[in-house]
């Protein structure tokens, strides 16, 4: 019985100490560690907890939240070559110390971005300064994939159940099981509240990092081949398949509220009322997606531009703004490309003392 009392005491100490002992760097290095979040989206909450802790601890006053998909995530290059550090560098050159928290994730949809905003509220992280990206494909008709909420269905169900109920049929059409059974709910309750469970991946990653450091191994967190597109054999042919082409359909966009993209963008607009927000439409490589020059495609771009002109946010369309040679494929950029993109964002998203 005596040992049991000590056991309870030790477990309590662990419960309290783990969030303090493990630092954000284990799972976040200029952006979230993709493998860690991909395998368990609950790790996002731990990362947000740690970001909040860092904001409080370091008294970070000026920070930007960056959301979006693989473009904002800056794939397939490494975290050092991502938008976050380039944007911070730009502000530094302007004499500003601005921290960028890049919480984008590859494949994140507008529904995920909205859910992330709700999660940020829940974790007391300000969204007063927000940059997020949308892509052309996001406005195109979903057939039925990709689902409008790709990663964070459970979180949306918890944080905005009405919105979740509205998209439930679309999620089910994408073979996503919407209802959790009783054991899954209990599992969620336990693993999200006991730090030994919620920090499990952090602890493991930390051990691996330490072992790597001990052996002098430097990790490369690139997601793939980061060479320029013209050096990649067979890329053009691969992109010419229906799987890629459907996202660049030239059919006229439905910009009404029946398009889930518009529905969630409206929600984001409402959430960001009175706050500073910049939306950018990801660039497309015209050498690989030739339809970008077609009038129908351009009409669709105009439609998007028109939509964003209605709300109180800044909008940048990166179509034609990035040199073709800076692409690594049809939509992603090489390091220099992201540097150009970050600079452009910085120039448009002015955060001086006057703008605070």
């Amino acid at each position: 019985m005596k040992a049991f009392k000590y056991l309870v005491l030790y477990l309590l100490i662990l419960q309290l100490m783990i969030p303090i002992v493990f630092s954000l760097d284990v799972a976040y290095n200029h952006r979230m560690e993709y493998p860690m979040v991909k395998n368990n989206t609950a790790n996002i909450d731990v990362i947000l907890d740690q970001i909040h802790r860092r904001i409080e601890h370091d008294n970070v006053r000026d920070y930007i939240i960056l959301l979006g998909d693989s473009v904002a995530y800056s794939g397939p290059g490494s975290s050092q070559q991502s938008i976050g550090p380039y944007l911070e560098q730009y502000y530094q050159e302007q004499g500003e110390v601005i921290t960028v928290f890049n919480l984008a994730m590859p494949a994140m949809q507008v529904g995920d971005i909205y859910t992330m905003l709700l999660k940020l509220d829940q974790h007391n992280i300000s969204t007063d300064r927000l940059i997020f990206n949308v892509i052309y494909a996001g406005f195109a008709e979903r057939q039925p994939d990709p689902p409008i909420v790709f990663w964070l269905q459970d979180d949306l169900s918890r944080l905005d159940h009405t919105a979740f109920e509205n998209i439930k049929p679309a999620l089910e059409a994408n073979q996503w099981t919407t209802e959790k059974n009783f054991p899954e709910k209990v599992n969620h309750l336990v693993t999200n509240n006991l730090t030994l469970f919620s920090y499990k991946d952090f602890i493991k990653a930390d051990v691996i990092h330490r072992i790597d450091a001990f052996h002098g191994i430097k990790r490369d967190d690139s997601l793939g081949d980061n060479r320029p597109w013209y050096e990649k054999e067979g890329l053009k042919e691969a992109l010419n398949t229906p799987a890629y082409q459907k996202g660049f359909s030239i059919n006229a966009f439905d910009m009404s509220k029946t398009n889930p993209q518009i529905c969630f963008l409206d929600k984001i607009a409402r959430h960001q009322e009175g706050k500073k927000a910049l939306v950018f439409l990801g660039p497309v490589n015209p050498e690989l997606m030739e339809q970008v020059n077609l009038p129908e495609y351009q009409d669709n771009l105009q439609q998007i531009q028109h939509y964003f002109s209605n709300d109180d946010w800044q909008y940048i369309d990166f179509h034609g703004q990035i040199d073709e040679n800076l692409f690594t494929d049809h939509v992603h950029l090489i390091a220099e490309g992201y540097q150009v993109l970050a600079r452009e964002l910085g120039e448009n998203f002015v955060i001086g003392a006057k703008n605070r």
Partner: protein, 474 residues
């Protein structure tokens, strides 16, 4: 389905234990409700079936004291066997019949194709039959209290995959739940539960990754690789099933209820007879008591004894799964038992006790029998007879033995697992002394520290998706 090694199960178990010990007079009701809830998670259909079959067995049990007891025992046995045959074997029998007659039968019976195997049906069927036979033979009195009977049949630690309990062992314990004290056996329960968690999370689930990979590539494996596949599965199965059984026994002890142990380090058996006294003990004793002995056992001469052994083991194989690979596995063990019986006779005639009692002989016998067991498990694991035969053919190509790159690490792993098995055997035989020294020489804060480290390791090494237990599909 809720597995014992998941956080949700441990959490709900803790709540249940608190209620169970805080309000002793509610114990029977609490357990009955918990059993119902535990099984209901598996699905509404299987639960309704289980409740109905439990009610039938309860009512039949009450009739086994009367003048028409013979009729009722047959009704009971037929009902249970028919239930099992229908849900578990309909598709298997029809498919086999289709092949023999070359007539398509299944398309005309879509219901058979859509049957879902009710979880635990093989285990509860044997438990019901044992209960009815024991009441019929007046070994035990029929259980009059329906709630007690329900808890006896559905006690959640053992309802899915055993251990198969007899009425005489479990019903009296359930009837006296209010006499159970918290301290009694709680520590033992935690020890068994921890041992099971250790085996499942840290061993079985990790071996499974390699074993599955080897079996998936079985067609292209050489002699050494195929042996590695068989070795790995041999240990995966043991650690997986014994983990489940020990967790079940441990959870039973936490509620003050003693469930029977199913394993006694079986891979240190020197022959088939010893193996079946160490492997899935509650099943092998059931087969002995309710199948082999009623068939005549060894009472009707050697030939009949061998036939009975062969039939009993073939049925045991079929009980495991509706596939010919399981039947062949059972028959193979039947032949091993017959072989051992004949060999034993020869040994007696030969004398030479000094040799047969020596440690070297014992070690060689264990080594040989372990490899015979591994060959058997190839049938058990393979998805088809062809796959099993191909693998065994590869294993027996001794002329082609050559070390493939990377094989050494797997052989080392297998050797390590065998040593662990021996260590387990030693620990069980010295459990009392070990426990005493543990309590005596390590102060409470140190013990608690080691328990904490153990919990941390279990959590860190548990794999994301909760893996089920191999025996759950039987």
């Amino acid at each position: 389905m809720m597995f014992f090694h998941t956080p949700e199960f441990i959490f709900l178990l803790s709540i249940l234990l608190v209620i169970y010990y805080v309000v002793p007079r509610w114990r029977l009701g609490v357990l009955a409700a918990a059993d119902l809830a535990f099984y209901a998670i598996a699905g509404l259909g299987p639960s309704v079936l289980f409740i109905l079959i439990t009610i039938c067995n309860y009512l039949i049990g009450l009739q086994l004291n009367g003048s028409r007891k013979k009729a009722f025992i047959w009704i009971g046995i037929i009902l249970n066997v028919a239930n099992l045959l229908f849900f578990k074997y309909s598709l298997f029998f029809l498919t086999s019949l289709e092949k023999v007659l070359n007539i398509p039968l299944i398309p005309s019976m879509p219901i058979i194709n859509n049957l879902i195997l009710p979880i635990g049906i093989s285990f509860y069927t044997f438990q019901f039959i044992a209960y009815l036979v024991d009441v019929y033979k007046e070994i035990i009195a029929p259980c009059k209290n329906p709630i007690v009977f329900w808890v006896f049949t559905s006690f959640f630690p053992h309802v899915i995959s055993g251990p198969i309990m007899r009425g005489g062992e479990l019903i009296p314990q359930v009837e006296h739940l209010n006499k159970i004290r918290l301290a009694s056996n709680f520590r033992l329960g935690l020890a068994y539960l921890s041992m099971g968690l250790f085996k499942k999370i840290l061993i079985a689930d990790y071996i499974a990754i390699y074993a599955n990979d080897f079996f998936a590539r079985s067609a292209s494996l050489g002699t050494v690789d195929t042996w590695i596949a068989a070795y790995l599965y041999t240990f995966q199965l043991y650690f997986d099933f014994s983990a489940y059984s020990e967790m079940a026994v441990g959870i039973g002890y936490l509620f003050g209820i003693k469930l029977n142990l199913n394993f006694r380090t079986p891979y240190i058996s020197a022959n088939a007879s010893e193996f079946w006294k160490r492997w899935h003990i509650t099943l092998s004793t059931w087969i002995r008591d309710y199948l082999y002995i009623p068939m005549g056992g060894s009472r009707k001469g050697d030939l009949r004894k061998y036939l009975n052994l062969f039939l009993a083991m073939a049925i045991s194989g079929l009980w495991h799964g509706a596939a010919w690979t399981f039947v062949i596995w059972g028959m193979y063990h039947g032949l091993l038992l017959i072989g051992h019986n004949i060999y034993k006779k020869g040994k007696t005639r030969m004398g030479m006790h000094w040799l047969f009692n020596s440690s070297i002989y014992k070690a060689v016998a264990i080594f040989v029998f372990f490899h015979l067991t591994c060959i058997g498990w190839v049938f058990f694991r393979s998805s088809s007879i062809q796959q099993a035969l191909h693998m065994i053919q590869q294993m027996l190509r001794f002329d082609q033995i050559s070390m493939v790159p990377g094989a050494e690490k797997y052989l080392l792993l297998v050797a390590g697992l065998f040593l662990l098995h021996i260590l387990e055997s030693w620990m069980i035989s010295h459990a009392y002394k070990l426990s005493e020294s543990w309590q005596k020489h390590f102060p409470a804060p140190i013990r608690a520290f080691i328990y904490t480290a153990f919990i941390v390791i279990l959590i860190l090494f548990s794999q994301g998706q909760a893996s089920d237990f191999i025996y759950f599909k039987f």
